[in-house]
């Protein structure tokens, strides 16, 4: 069954609330909206500061980067920016991802990219190099112990979040990964990008355990269901971002796609509902498709 949630501006990244009652989305008018799933009504609007960019949304909260390079963490309940790092022009262009414990991990740079950790008080703990060409995707494990980033030079790196120790550089992938997501238990990492393959990596040994073919387009969005049994992938056509594309839901155990949905154009985000039987698909348009199945 398909339903739609809509706004009067384009919607980008989306994530369900942990209770599954709301879908939150970053909107092009620099606001975060939360739709009530049952009614489709907008129940909350958070307005970011003027000039904020690079919003990244997770279940834990949302981050933006201000014009002066201030990283901000937004509390999803109160709608306030609860953490701010000192201004730092080096942090633009860039973005940050928020850990469950309140740590912020910033990924910044256009040519040579670095990752920095800021603790809950906003103090910088480390800065480590993380490839070249800009960060194409970032991910953090649910327990906040591991972070991973893909850069446009086709490398994927994983670090120990606490101290920035490089756990592995995955250098065997020929092309850039545009989407990364840890499994809920943090034991594996899903990656997809320009070669249309869905890769699964063991997040202890960092060995590739699966390379799954079937997504017709380049992969730009990935999510893993809360029970860890399903992976959703969405992508974009190499001809134009405006072409319709497919969204696939994969069974992790069999490695086969078990559901296929149509998307009107390039997919910006896919997000499973907490019941693992619904999927939100955002295509940078004014509506989010909400697919549900028994």
């Amino acid at each position: 069954m398909q339903r739609k949630l809509s706004a009067d501006v384009e919607i980008g990244d989306v994530v369900f609330s942990t209770d599954g009652k709301l879908l939150r989305g970053i909107c092009r008018d620099n606001k975060l909206r939360a739709w009530e799933i049952s009614s489709g009504a907008v129940r909350q609007t958070i307005t970011f500061d003027k000039g904020d960019r690079g919003a990244i949304l997770t279940e834990h909260g949302c981050t933006t980067v201000g014009e002066d390079g201030t990283l901000k963490a937004w509390d999803l309940t109160s709608g306030n920016a609860t953490k701010r790092t000192p201004p730092n022009s080096e942090l633009r262009p860039g973005g940050a991802i928020l850990a469950a414990n309140g740590d912020l991990f910033a990924f910044y740079g256009r040519a040579e990219v670095s990752v920095r950790r800021f603790d809950a008080s906003g103090k910088e703990r480390y800065a480590v190099p993380s490839g070249i060409g800009g960060a194409a995707a970032v991910a953090i494990s649910a327990d906040g112990t591991k972070i991973a980033a893909a850069t446009y030079d086709a490398d994927v790196r994983a670090w120990k979040a606490s101290n920035g120790e490089l756990l592995r550089t995955i250098g065997e992938l020929p092309v850039s990964m545009f989407a990364l997501k840890f499994s809920p238990d943090g034991k594996w990492l899903a990656a997809g990008g320009a070669d249309r393959q869905l890769y699964l990596y063991d997040a202890e040994t960092w060995k590739q355990t699966r390379a799954l073919s079937g997504q017709p387009e380049m992969i730009s969005a990935i999510d893993v269901s809360g029970d860890g049994t399903l992976v959703a992938t969405g992508g974009f056509s190499e001809l134009t971002l405006k072409n319709p594309v497919k969204v696939l839901v994969w069974d992790v155990r069999s490695g086969k796609p078990v559901r296929t949905f149509d998307a009107a154009q390039r997919v910006g985000a896919v997000a499973f509902g907490p019941d693992s039987r619904s999927l939100a698909v955002s295509t940078f348009s004014k509506t989010v498709d909400l697919w549900e199945w028994p």
């Binding site: 040519a111 070249i132 990008g193 070669d195």
Partner: protein, 204 residues
């Protein structure tokens, strides 16, 4: 760059009758300063592919596309030739598509003994989402900062005949200097376009 310095010297000498020595010196110093300025960076883009073969001829017999020669020198900001520079060069085909499974229109060259490089290819195609023709570069060399940049074409219809006026259109081109003049080489039966794209790397 040495050749262009000589050329500039000739031109400046020819103009000496109408310029004072002081003006001439200032002009020369300005040129020198500019010639040691690092090449502007541009985005890497999402379609880099590792492991391209060292191949000076990317043009493929029977495939559409207007023949193009791209050549240049690799220097550094101290005005020295850069030995051992590696140049990853990649572009879209005539239809505007990148090869993401193989290495069509992709190469990884080593600049020759005189720090020169050359590639025989085709004019890259246009594609909707980034409609200015361009060629990607990723250049690395020991002792130098890695450079990511792109070359564009002054003849591209995207610039509507006036690259100076229109280079900021849609925010695609990071710097006017990356748009290169295109010359036509009229070999009998085999006309081809040519651009010179010199690279200047920052030293570490």
């Amino acid at each position: 760059m040495l050749e262009s310095c000589i050329l500039r010297g000739t031109l400046l000498a020819g103009a000496a009758t109408s310029m004072s020595q002081r003006e001439l010196l200032a002009s020369w110093e300005q040129e020198e300063e500019r010639s040691h300025k690092p090449t502007s960076a541009d985005v890497l883009g999402p379609f880099f592919r590792k492991g391209a073969p060292n191949n000076g001829t990317l043009r493929i017999a029977g495939e559409p596309g207007f023949p193009l020669r791209v050549s240049g020198n690799v220097w550094n900001t101290k005005g020295q030739k850069v030995e051992g520079a590696r140049l990853d060069i990649w572009q879209a085909d005539h239809a505007g598509l990148y090869d993401l499974k193989g290495y069509r229109y992709r190469t990884r060259l080593e600049a020759g003994p005189a720090s020169k490089y050359a590639v025989e290819t085709i004019l890259p195609g246009h594609y909707d989402d980034r409609p200015a023709q361009h060629i990607h570069y990723l250049i690395s060399a020991p002792g130098h900062k890695t450079l990511i940049t792109q070359a564009y074409f002054a003849t591209d219809p995207f610039f509507e005949g006036d690259a100076d006026k229109n280079f900021k259109k849609r925010g695609i081109v990071s710097n006017r200097e990356l748009i290169r003049p295109v010359t036509l080489i009229e070999a009998p039966g085999q006309p081809r376009a040519s651009i010179q794209f010199d690279i200047c790397l920052e030293t570490l």
